[in-house]
Symmetry: D2
């Protein structure tokens, strides 16, 4: 059994990670830390875990964490980077579900996250944990930066088009819609039930932290410069993310459906729908899965890609466990074979 | 008092029209028809109207309808066109909330609506009832084609950019999100609570009936050909529509915020938010209002317009009453001064 | 025009009160105070009010408030009691939407609200503002304690049974369900969208502040002691309250339907449904209305009353305006003729 | 592997059963029948099953069904009774998730279900499949009548009180609230998203089919006559059921919390919360679990029990699989170890 610790598992990403790890056949959860909830039973905070996880939160303690094989950080941005150097030093591997190690460009990172980086030297060595792009590097990684939810949905949708040189990279549009759980479990008027229910809105149109992360990935994949317009929206549901992607098509007479099917034929967590499909967010709810469909609307210059994930699963905790499986040489699907609950 | 009749008011557009007309200071509702509900009290079908409207549905009868000053059609597509000629003949004015008279190109209409038109000669004389485009023509119209919900939100968002020649018309994108009430009140598995709740999806990506309606309007406004990619989505809320519009900006150094504010400065039912705003669908819920914001994201080639309406109000019944007010020389705001209910 | 001030209108009761008063034909809103939002435009906090209310929040100031004819308190419990004496002294009338003056028994009040009362001498003179019980006293009241939401729904449902001596008062049960807006607009994990959506639960089963308020009213109405079991529940909707009331029937062969219809025949804001009806919360959404139905299930010892209100309207702001109308000799329906929005 | 067939799996109970059986370690799904969907891939109707179940619906065929070890009926009421005799004859065991074999009193059954019973002789031999009451009988049963959702939540809540003679059976009240999935997946205006969202209502107050089923169980458990008032309500969520139970307490100085904990100490699918708890429906979402709390409110004559289940799991498909496990001598938890998804 692999010994894991989780730092900061009091939010939605954290409880999802606990749901997955508590049932993972190769995992032994050693320690779950939280400063604010130290002493509380995890199952008192999250009643779905009653009977499945018999642990109390403890105060973060380097000694205990260093006894783990791997530590997950499900903390706010800026926490992991303070503890990671000591853990790596002690031989512990790390998966950070926050943004501390996602951007290679430190200036960009410090601009978007409005703080100074605590261990800039580790940023270059961190592996960006999108398995469909970086599986080989993840296998031997000591430190994995788990991708953001929007970047996961958007990159997986654009990749087959980019890798096959089918689109004009100078006018990419990603119109993305997220469930409210993406905003986290902090007390906040804007995400109260009575503010978010029966309401739909765009936000951060002038600029969002996930834009440089997406751009970094697409530039790396294409080797070209790109121009991306990214607009995130908040939709009145708990879970789910839908990215609608637009790009001008520059090659004609290509069977785009076949391109997508071929590109992802060996991937266990990407599902290309039959031609004409419209993936629903509920079809991946609670599962580590990205479902894609590709369309070329009549008379349109653009190819349209529809990409759905569960923002807490393939967009966060599920992908983290997928990375964990790869890092430890387990079956990539270990502990990740949930059938989505529908309705 | 102006005598009005309503044909087919058993759906969501119909009950909304009844809510507005029952409280309209210049209106006397003479007759509400429905074949399927003839004899039923309107307030038994729609309990919100108890105490506000004391009428029973009756079987459609030309004699009774011809005694009205104006008849609204809140029927499925293809019904109004069969009755309208006789009503116009009798001197009754008509507002059709369905699609029978929206498209000037009959071939297009017959392709998208999959039926033969019953009175093609009237199509040319019908006035497209978007007051912000066609107010003068509406004043003297005998037959008004009330716009679709998507076309209202999209056209109002693009108009200031088009009329000021600010965008490249060859790559317009409208990514639109609708509440479920847009799908109507018919028994249908796809819009059951358990299918639509906690779910988000695109639909009709390959082509939607509102695409030719939007194109017709934008071409008329610009005098140019256009290329529009339109993707509608279903979002888990009852009311509300959000259109996110993208267009490549071709003039630099223009104060786009000022362009929008100026363009709509005399409109009572279009509200341009201050720079940087993000309109929420709930801010127009139950009201005949379109709220707009315009953004130019850093490093993007595109201008982004956010446009929200209540699909049953400015997207249907509210706009119909606005047209009615214009046709009868009333204050344009008569019966339309609702403050949205929030939360 | 009657000059009114509102203290503390930054919550859901407050915005609802502003929606009503901004459109009230006899009201001039002089001042809206909030310490935390002083200087902010009211319409910036509540975008539904854009174009309908052009006022900024100001710091509470006795001088300005004393220039009003009446001041509404839409504050947390314990605030009004500190300011009310000075206002009454200055001849200003007051309606408190919080709980400061609801309970006549000071010890009970101090037990449930966990503070010392700041003006115990005024508690006896305050009139409990349930018009269907206390209309005459309200007419001449200087200080009205606006009832709680649960007490409104429950008392209106039990009153006809009590006043006609039809039930055994020693085993009353009120099983009540509230929308989430009853919990207010404060940042709070428990009422986040992701906590309250797709979830239903009882709360405060061991005791709730509204229990003594209901008991006080029912004892006053019956002149007898009572035993009431009251269980509130949280239901995943924004607005609406449904009370299901149970009481053993002690008189047989009574036409209970007729009893209810007769009891409320002159009330404009209580609607008794036809026999066999099941009132829906949405049928009163946004309206100052209580809809009731009464059932006697086959083989059951109990009579069952179903009572629905909009918790922010007849359960708070709407009832406050109704009290205001009564106090100033206006039509009781002035500013309160909204047709509920459905769907 | 045990060979199973499912008749009629096109509704919500059916898709839930498929989710459970597709992942059950001892089950081989041989055949899934549906007259209306014959030929359709199951995963085309229910996209959550893509990649997990590779079967098409087939027309019901006795030959194929008779080759199974057990057949589940997830059909509307009145279907199973026509096929069950032949299956039993062929040595196939049966679990009926509908109501055909739930009521021992045939007259009652025919009154509530408004049809004649097709195999009255089998009704007496059918075992009512509530394992916490009838585990021993289920072990050897050939035909199990899987309980209704309301009866499961209500009986499990009352049982410890009844078996310990703690309550007055002559005035039991069950106020129950169900998510919308309980109404099934048929096209129906009343359960459209726009009818059920933001709405709460009671229904069938004059009498509901589950009342005789509950009464039958409670009478059997107590050996006494009872008087039960049962009111079901519809609440705007997909899954979940909450029963709030009231009964006059007739013994004082009993530690009711201990009574409940002791009664269910060996049950794997009933969880008694610590004293003072309020179970949330989401805490059992997607899991075969009933969570209970028991309260004795200050000054009340009644004991109050709160009982939550997922209506599609412990209230339908989950309980069916639990019965299946018992019938085949498997671990009772086989295929039922899901951790609820939260949020």
């Amino acid at each position: 059994m692999i010994k894991v610790g989780i730092v900061g598992a009091t939010g939605y990403t954290g409880v999802e990670l606990l749901r997955l790890l508590a049932a993972h056949p190769e995992v032994n959860i050693q320690v779950v830390t939280s400063r604010s909830e130290a002493g509380t039973a995890v199952a008192d905070l999250f009643p779905n875990l009653r009977g499945h996880l018999d642990l109390n939160y403890s105060t973060p303690d380097t000694g205990t964490l260093c006894a783990c094989d791997l530590v997950f950080f499900a903390t706010p941005n800026g926490i992991a980077m303070k503890l990671v150097p000591e853990l790596l030093e002690a031989g512990v591997r790390v998966i950070d579900l926050a943004a501390d190690f996602r951007l290679k460009d430190l200036k960009e990172w410090e601009k978007w996250y409005a703080m100074e980086h605590a261990c800039p030297e580790l940023v270059a060595t961190a592996v960006y944990g999108l398995p469909e792009m970086n599986r080989e590097a993840i296998k031997s990684a000591r430190l994995v930066a788990n991708p953001g939810c929007y970047p996961t949905a958007v990159q997986l949708g654009f990749l087959p088009l980019i890798k096959n040189d089918l689109i004009d990279m100078s006018n990419l549009i990603a119109d993305a819609k997220s469930g409210v759980s993406g905003a986290g479990r902090k007390a906040n008027v804007a995400t109260l039930f009575c503010e978010a229910q029966e309401n739909f809105k765009a936000y951060a149109v002038s600029g969002h932290r996930h834009l440089p992360e997406i751009s970094q990935g697409l530039i790396a994949a294409s080797g070209k410069d790109i121009n991306l317009t990214f607009v995130p929206h908040l939709t009145p549901m708990i879970r789910g993310m839908h990215a609608t992607l637009y790009a001008p098509l520059i090659k004609k007479n290509v069977d785009i459906q076949a391109v997508f099917e071929d590109y992802y034929k060996d991937e266990c967590f990407v599902d290309v729908l039959p031609a004409g499909g419209h993936p629903e967010t509920r079809s991946v709810s609670g599962a580590n899965m990205c479902r894609l469909a590709v369309h070329q609307p009549e008379d349109s210059r653009n190819v349209v890609v529809l990409s759905v994930i569960d923002n807490l699963m393939k967009g966060a905790a599920g992908q983290a466990v997928q990375n964990f499986n790869i890092m430890f040489g387990l079956e990539e699907t270990a502990g990740l074979v949930h059938i989505p609950v529908l309705p």
